[in-house]
C-alpha cells in the first residue's frame, strides 16, 4: 500500500534550528555561522576579528571540528569563552549538536556568537544551526574555480572573505573571475579581501561585522 509522506528530509534539523534561533533571540545575541574549507583560515580570521572587536563587544565561540581541541585552545588564548564540539567523523555541525552545548556558553552576556563549522565546502551549507547569518572564508590559494564547483556554499553565504590576499603576486589565480562568479551565483554577496598574516583588509571586515548586530 502506498502512503503519502510529503515531508522535507531535513525538517527535524530545521525545527531544532528554529528552537536555537529563538534561544539566541531571547538572549539578544547575533549568531554567525562561519564556514570554509580546511586550511582556508577560519580560525585565523576569527582570532584576528576577536582581537579587533573584543574591547567593544562581547564575543563567544563554538568550535566545530572532527577531532581535537587545537582551534578551541587558539580561541581560548584570545580570552573569550569557547566551547569545542568534536563531531567524531561527521563533516558538518547540525542544530542538535549546537543545542547540546548552549548551556555551556554564557549566551545572555554575549553580543555575538560565532559558530566555526567543520572545514568543508559542501555539507555545512545544507544544515541550518539557528544562525542569523552565514559567512564563508575562501583562501585565494584554493583557486578561482571554487564558486562554480561549490555553488551552494556561495549562494548560502551573506559574506565571502577572500583570505591570504598577500599571496596574490605569487599565484595564477584569477581573482576577477572568482569575484564575478561569486556575484553571479549570489548577487549582493559582500566580498572582503583580507590577509590574516599582514592584517590587510581586516579592519573593514571587522567594522562591517560589528555593525550587524
Amino acid at each position: 500500500m502506498k502512503v503519502k509522506v510529503v515531508t522535507k528530509i531535513l525538517e527535524a534539523n530545521e525545527r531544532l534550528a528554529e528552537d536555537n534561533k529563538k534561544r539566541f533571540r531571547d538572549a539578544g545575541v547575533f549568531v554567525l555561522n562561519l564556514m570554509g574549507a580546511p586550511g582556508a583560515g577560519k580560525t585565523s580570521l576569527l582570532e584576528k576579528t576577536i582581537l579587533k572587536l573584543k574591547d567593544r563587544m562581547s564575543i563567544g565561540v563554538i568550535e566545530g571540528d572532527i577531532a581535537g581541541t587545537d582551534d578551541a585552545e587558539r580561541i581560548n588564548n584570545t580570552g573569550v569563552p569557547v566551547v569545542q564540539i568534536n563531531t567524531g567523523g561527521a563533516c558538518h555541525l547540525d542544530a542538535n549538536m549546537i543545542s547540546e552545548v548552549l548551556t555551556e556558553i554564557p549566551l545572555k552576556d554575549l553580543d555575538m556568537l560565532v559558530i566555526e563549522n567543520v572545514g568543508n565546502l559542501v555539507c555545512p551549507a545544507e544544515f541550518k544551526v539557528g544562525e542569523d547569518m552565514k559567512a564563508m572564508v575562501l583562501s585565494i590559494t584554493e583557486g578561482h574555480d571554487k564558486p562554480l564547483k561549490y555553488p551552494l556554499m556561495f549562494q548560502e553565504s551573506t559574506a565571502l572573505v577572500l583570505n591570504k590576499i598577500d599571496l596574490l603576486p605569487h599565484l595564477d589565480v584569477d581573482i576577477d573571475k572568482l569575484r564575478k562568479d561569486a556575484i553571479s551565483l549570489h548577487p549582493g554577496i559582500r566580498i572582503f579581501e583580507v590577509s590574516c598574516k599582514t592584517g590587510e583588509g581586516l579592519d573593514r571586515w571587522a567594522e562591517w561585522l560589528s555593525g550587524l548586530r
Partner: protein
C-alpha cells in the same frame, strides 16, 4: 558525506510514520531530490542501505526521483531547465535576470508499506 545524516533523517521520518499508523514494514521509499541540492544519489543509496538494517525499513528500497535545476527568465519570459548544478545566465536568451523555481528539493514523497 552528509548523505549519512540525510539517510538517518529519512529513516527517522518513515519509521515514525510506520509505527504511528500501525504498519508492519516499509517496502520502499520515494524521494524527490533536486540536482542542485548537494546530494550524491549513489552515496545516499549506499548509506541508506547500511543505516536501514534491523528496522521496519530493513528491506526497503530507496527510489530517487531527480529534479533538474530550472527556473523562469524575466528576459525572454520563458521557462528553462539545465543539466548542471548552477545557472549564471538564462540558457535560452543569456539574460542574467531569472528566478530559480526547482532543483533544490529534498523531500520524501511517499512510501510503500505492508
Amino acid at each position: 558525506m552528509h548523505e549519512a545524516s540525510i539517510a538517518l533523517g529519512i529513516l527517522d521520518i518513515v519509521i515514525n510514520r510506520c509505527h504511528a499508523e500501525g504498519y508492519r514494514s516499509i517496502d520502499s521509499v520515494t524521494l524527490r531530490i533536486g540536482r542542485a541540492a548537494g546530494i550524491m544519489p549513489e552515496a545516499l543509496l549506499f548509506t541508506f542501505d547500511v543505516a536501514k538494517s534491523d528496522s521496519p525499513a530493513g528491506d526497503a528500497k530507496l527510489l530517487i526521483d531527480l529534479v533538474p535545476l530550472g527556473g523562469h527568465c524575466s528576459g525572454c519570459e520563458d521557462d528553462f531547465e539545465v543539466e548542471g548544478t548552477y545557472v549564471l545566465n538564462c540558457p535560452k536568451c543569456g539574460s542574467p535576470t531569472f528566478q530559480i523555481r526547482k532543483g533544490y528539493e529534498m523531500e520524501i514523497v511517499d512510501m510503500e508499506v505492508t
